[in-house]
Structures are given as structure tokens and as C-alpha cells.
């Protein structure tokens, strides 16, 4: 367990005036948000509004056009993805990215190893997480042999093996059936308190978002159009319009 970060009680992820331009397309425009340890922030918005792009720039996979990203006072704005990960930010992907030729257990172990655990510690940490996620029967399976719903679960388990301060989930319920989504919700609900981390969730499933999130952040065409508790956000006209608009377009 990295002691420097786990002992502070006030870890905050600060995203400040982020801009991201793709060849003239402004995918993010002056987006700012804060994420505190222990809270769940929902990031919502219509398709193409920049949610995944925001996660990609926070995790360093895409360079920022301008703006700043901090954990407390540590500036991560131009850090490499592996440095950002080691600083305490874990993520999952909208299209699942597991290590296909590794077993389920190795997928989880390698995350523990890469933040500095020894091979032996990593094995114990992986065992604990495997139990927590009910993956015991699958430990020796290659990730490529897993059913879809379990892939999602393994990806979250892998992210948690990094003992992150912040966990960014990109549509964790996508492609799950109702039952699986319900199961996932119960897992996710407990994570922030149990793991003492802040969680950001991108999700189209409004039911899940409303039940899970303490706060919401709404994007449309790369701009923030609303922020606040689920009740507050529901009453913001721009948000209502964006959602009705996108439904009206046949989404």
C-alpha cells in the first residue's frame, strides 16, 4: 500500500479549464471538475459529448491542448500514462481492454505488481480481490475465454488492484443485461467507502446513475452544461434540452 497517499484524508482530483482539440474539432472546452475521496461523480452527456475524451486526457493517453490536472498539489498535466497511474488514477475502458493472453489472476496481479508490490504480495492482493469479486472459479482462465459480463468485472478488479485514489469507469454497465447491471451496481456502490477512493462514472443508464451518484457533471459538445446533485441537474433546462434533443434525434 503506497503510504504517502493512503494516509491523507483529503485526496482531490482537480481538473482545471481543460481544452482538447482534434484537428479543429473542439472535443473539450474549458471543462473543470473536482473529485473527492469517498464520493461518486457521474459524468453524463449525449453520444460524442467528450466523456471518453475527458477520461483519456486525465489518464494521459491523449495530450491536453491546454488546462491543468492535479492530485492535490501534484501537477499531472504533462505526465505520462504510467506516471499518472502510479500517482493513483485507475480506469476502465468503454471497449474492454483486458490482457487477453494472461489469466484472470495474472490480469489482476500485474496491476498490483506495476504499482510496486512484489510478486508474492501481488499474489495475495489478487487473491483478496478475486474473492471480493466472486471470480474464484475463473482465476486460471485466459481473459480471452471469459464471458462478456465477467470481462467487465475483471477490468474493475484489475483497476482496484492498483489501490488507486481515483477510479474512472467508462460505461461499466454497457452491454450488460438487467440482472448483471444490478449486480454491478451493488459492487460499485460499496467501492468508494471500502476502498477509500473517489469514483467517476460515465454511464448512459440513468437508473444506475441516479441511484449511485452523489453529484453529476453534464457535458454536451465538449462543454459543461450542468453540475450538481442528481435532483439539481434534472432541473437544469440545458440538460433537459440536451437529453430531449438527443432523444428526439432518434438516439
Amino acid at each position: 500500500m503506497p503510504p504517502s497517499i493512503q494516509t491523507t484524508n483529503t485526496a482531490t482530483l482537480i481538473v482545471q479549464d481543460i481544452n482538447k482539440v482534434f484537428f479543429g474539432l473542439r472535443a473539450l472546452e474549458n471543462v473543470s471538475l473536482r473529485l473527492q475521496k469517498g464520493e461518486i461523480l457521474g459524468l453524463i452527456g449525449p453520444n460524442g459529448s467528450g466523456k471518453t475524451t475527458l477520461i483519456n486526457v486525465i489518464t494521459g493517453l491523449l495530450p491536453l491542448t491546454s488546462g491543468k490536472i492535479y492530485i492535490n498539489s501534484t501537477n499531472l498535466s504533462s505526465a505520462k500514462p504510467y506516471q499518472i497511474a502510479r500517482a493513483g488514477i485507475a480506469r476502465t475502458y468503454q471497449t474492454i481492454r483486458l490482457f487477453k493472453e494472461l489469466t484472470v489472476k495474472e490480469n489482476i496481479e500485474v496491476a498490483a505488481v506495476s504499482i510496486g508490490s512484489s510478486r508474492k504480495e501481488a499474489r495475495h492482493q489478487a487473491d483478496a480481490i478475486i474473492q471480493e469479486f466472486g471470480l474464484e472459479a475463473w482465476v486460471h482462465y485466459l481473459a480471452s475465454a471469459l464471458p462478456y459480463g465477467l470481462e467487465r468485472r475483471v477490468e474493475i478488479a484489475r483497476a482496484l488492484a492498483m489501490k488507486p485514489l481515483f477510479l474512472l469507469l467508462d460505461e461499466p454497465a454497457a452491454g450488460l443485461n438487467e440482472e448483471e447491471a444490478e449486480e454491478l451496481l451493488h459492487i460499485l456502490e460499496l467501492i468508494p467507502d471500502n476502498k477509500k477512493l473517489g469514483m467517476l462514472i460515465v454511464e448512459h443508464d440513468m437508473h444506475l446513475i441516479m441511484r449511485l451518484c452523489d453529484r453529476l457533471h453534464v457535458l454536451n459538445y465538449g462543454k459543461t452544461i450542468g453540475e450538481g446533485t442528481p435532483e439539481q441537474v434534472r432541473r437544469i433546462p440545458a440538460v433537459v434540452e440536451a437529453y430531449l434533443g438527443s432523444t428526439a434525434r432518434g438516439d
Partner: protein, 357 residues
């Protein structure tokens, strides 16, 4: 206590090592008993090739990027070890343009061999760092360019090599058991590496470099360590080979050998140590068999003209067939173990979707 658990592990958890090493020891013992020069020559060559294939597997199999430069580092190891092992008199004849400071240095064989490996590793460490971020076609092409560069340097730097001429006067230190011990040692090393933290990280970055980066893996460093270690193995193989064959020129460390080693790994399957061992064994046996047939045909003059390159062409065809029908090689990236270990297939253990078996 410790020894018994260790022994138990060899037979259970690490049965792969036991299964791979036992037949090799048997081959070595039989060769030793036969005491036939030709057989011994073939078997020693096979063990040296095994080291090369294992080295290539370590980087390529775990890292997922093709490496054409491997044999170049074999060449560096060969020349470097020879410079430190030859007698001053032999050097003044075999390496007439050698830098004078090297002339009087003569070390015991094992030290010269190790130095050869270390020098190959050192060169690899320096050259390769900027290349390690490249993947796919770019990685393949740059590694090929690296092979060409090393070759040109070996051919023209006659203060270190004998230039394009054949270097002779090397003492023969490599015998059967020397090659066997290094071969087996490197099987253990390659196996251990794959399961080590760094090997695990490398395999993760092979499967998905973005996911690897966002869990905190510095792929460039991890690949670089593997490349350097792999070059060390090639360097040792080069030193062993040089002190077995005793006269050679830079030609030996170029395309022909590169192709043979790649073919061995691809046929066996680059994903695992078992693939490296199986591929080396099969290709060596088939190649020798074909060579025997070829020379029999030529001696008996069964064809109007002499037959050349039969073994090479056959190997190339085998390679193509394997790549088409079994791209993961014979072993498909899996390690040989006792049957009960590790269910890797689609079948469930927890009873869901499973019919009674």
C-alpha cells in the same frame, strides 16, 4: 524443508521445467555414450541454437515485437569473447589489425565467454533504448536495419574482427556438456523471466499497450530490460559457438542464421518457453534429416544436377504452413505441464453452461 517444497514445486507448479529439461538431458547422455563426432556436432549446434531461440523468445514471445537483430548480438558475443580468449600469438595471426592493447589480454574461457555476453548486452542496451517504443512494422524494420548495421560493422571494423575474412586460430573450449549446461540454465532463466514481475508486465504490454500504461507499466523500460537480457543470451550463444567452430567470418551472423532461429521459434510457438524448446528440437531434427537425404541424393547422383538448399526451402515452406494453419506455433503459446494443471479452455468450472463430462 525448503528443499522438499522446492522439489515438490518442480514436479507440480513448475512441471514444465522438468518436462522440458529431462529429454534434453537424455539426448545429451545418449550423445555422450555414442561418442560419434558427427552426432556430437549436431547436438552441440542444437543446444547453441536453443540458447538463441530462448533469447529470442524472451523478448519476442513475451513482448510481442519481432526482432531481426538477435543474430547480430550473437556475432558481437562471438568476436568479443574470442578477443579475450585467444592467445597473443594466435591473435597476431588471426586478428592482425587488432588494437594493440587487446593483444596481450588472455582470460580463462568462462570469463571471456561471460564478457562476450556482457558486451553484447551492453551494446544492445545502448542501441535499443530509443527503439523500444516502436511496435508492429516500425519495430520489425528498425530491428532489421540494426542487423544490417551490426553486420556492416563486423565486416569493416577490422581492428576488432578479421574483417570479411575468416578468423581462425580460436581454441576449442565448447564441448557437449558446456553447451548442455548453458542451454538448460537458459531454459530456467527464460521460464523464470516469464513468470517474474517484469515478464508479467512485458506480457501485459504485449497484449494491450494502452491498458498496460494506464495500470502503471512503463513499457519502454520493461522491453528494454528484456531486449538487453535477450542480447546477453545471444552473446553467450555466440561465444559458445565461436569456441566450438573455431573459425568463422561475419557471414555466419547474418540472414541464414536469422532465418533458422526465427523458423525454430515460429514453428514451436513464440508465446512460451516450451515452444522455444519444441521448435528447436523439431527443426533441428528435420533439418539434419533433410540434409542427410540431400547429400545421399547428391552422392548417389540420383538427380541430373546437384541438389542444394533443399533443407532451407523445406524449412521456409514449413514456416509458411505453420503461420497459415497454426499462427501460435505448435505449442500455441502454452507451456507443457502435467495434465491436471490449469484449465485454459472455454469450459466452465463452476457448472454454468456445462454438460456432464
Amino acid at each position: 524443508m525448503k528443499i522438499t517444497t522446492w522439489l515438490k514445486n518442480i514436479f507440480t507448479e513448475h512441471s514444465t521445467l522438468f518436462i522440458l529439461i529431462t529429454p534434453l538431458i537424455i539426448i545429451a547422455l545418449v550423445t555422450d555414450l555414442l561418442d560419434d563426432t558427427l552426432t556430437e556436432r549436431i547436438v552441440i549446434t542444437m543446444f547453441i541454437n536453443l540458447i538463441l531461440v530462448l533469447g529470442l523468445q524472451l523478448f519476442m514471445g513475451n513482448g510481442g515485437t519481432l526482432n531481426f537483430a538477435h543474430i547480430g548480438f550473437m556475432g558481437i558475443g562471438a568476436y568479443a569473447s574470442v578477443i579475450f580468449s585467444m592467445t597473443p600469438q594466435a591473435k597476431s595471426i588471426g586478428l592482425p589489425d587488432l588494437y594493440p592493447i587487446f593483444n596481450p589480454i588472455q582470460l580463462p574461457f568462462l570469463m571471456a565467454l561471460l564478457l562476450g555476453g556482457l558486451i553484447a548486452a551492453f551494446c544492445a542496451a545502448i542501441i535499443s533504448f530509443p527503439l523500444m517504443r516502436l511496435s508492429d512494422a516500425a519495430a520489425v524494420i528498425t530491428s532489421f536495419a540494426l542487423l544490417v548495421i551490426i553486420h556492416v560493422v563486423l565486416v569493416h571494423w577490422d581492428n576488432i574482427t578479421a574483417g570479411p575474412q575468416t578468423l581462425f586460430g580460436v581454441d576449442r573450449y565448447t564441448d557437449l556438456w558446456m553447451s548442455v549446461i548453458w542451454g538448460i540454465g537458459f531454459i530456467i532463466l527464460a521460464y523464470w523471466f516469464k513468470e517474474s514481475s517484469i515478464g508479467l508486465k512485458l506480457r501485459a504490454s504485449r497484449d494491450d499497450r494502452y491498458a498496460a500504461a494506464t495500470i502503471g507499466i512503463n513499457m519502454v523500460i520493461v522491453r528494454w530490460v528484456a531486449f538487453t537480457l535477450s542480447a546477453f543470451m545471444a552473446g553467450i550463444a555466440g561465444g559458445l559457438w565461436a569456441h566450438f567452430i573455431t573459425s568463422f567470418s561475419p557471414k555466419a551472423f547474418y540472414l541464414t542464421e536469422t532465418f533458422v532461429i526465427l523458423a525454430m521459434l515460429v514453428v514451436g510457438g513464440p508465446g512460451g518457453v516450451s515452444g522455444a524448446v519444441v521448435g528447436t528440437l523439431i527443426v533441428s531434427i528435420v533439418r539434419e534429416g533433410l540434409r542427410t537425404i540431400e547429400s545421399a541424393i547428391n552422392i548417389g547422383q540420383l538427380l541430373p544436377s546437384t541438389l542444394v538448399g533443399f533443407a532451407e526451402v523445406f524449412l521456409a515452406i514449413a514456416l509458411i504452413v505453420i503461420l497459415i494453419f497454426r499462427p501460435g506455433g505448435i505449442m500455441g503459446g502454452r507451456e507443457i505441464r502435467w495434465l491436471k494443471k490449469r484449465p485454459l479452455s472455454q469450459k466452465n468450472e463452476d457448472g454454468t453452461n456445462t454438460t456432464i463430462s
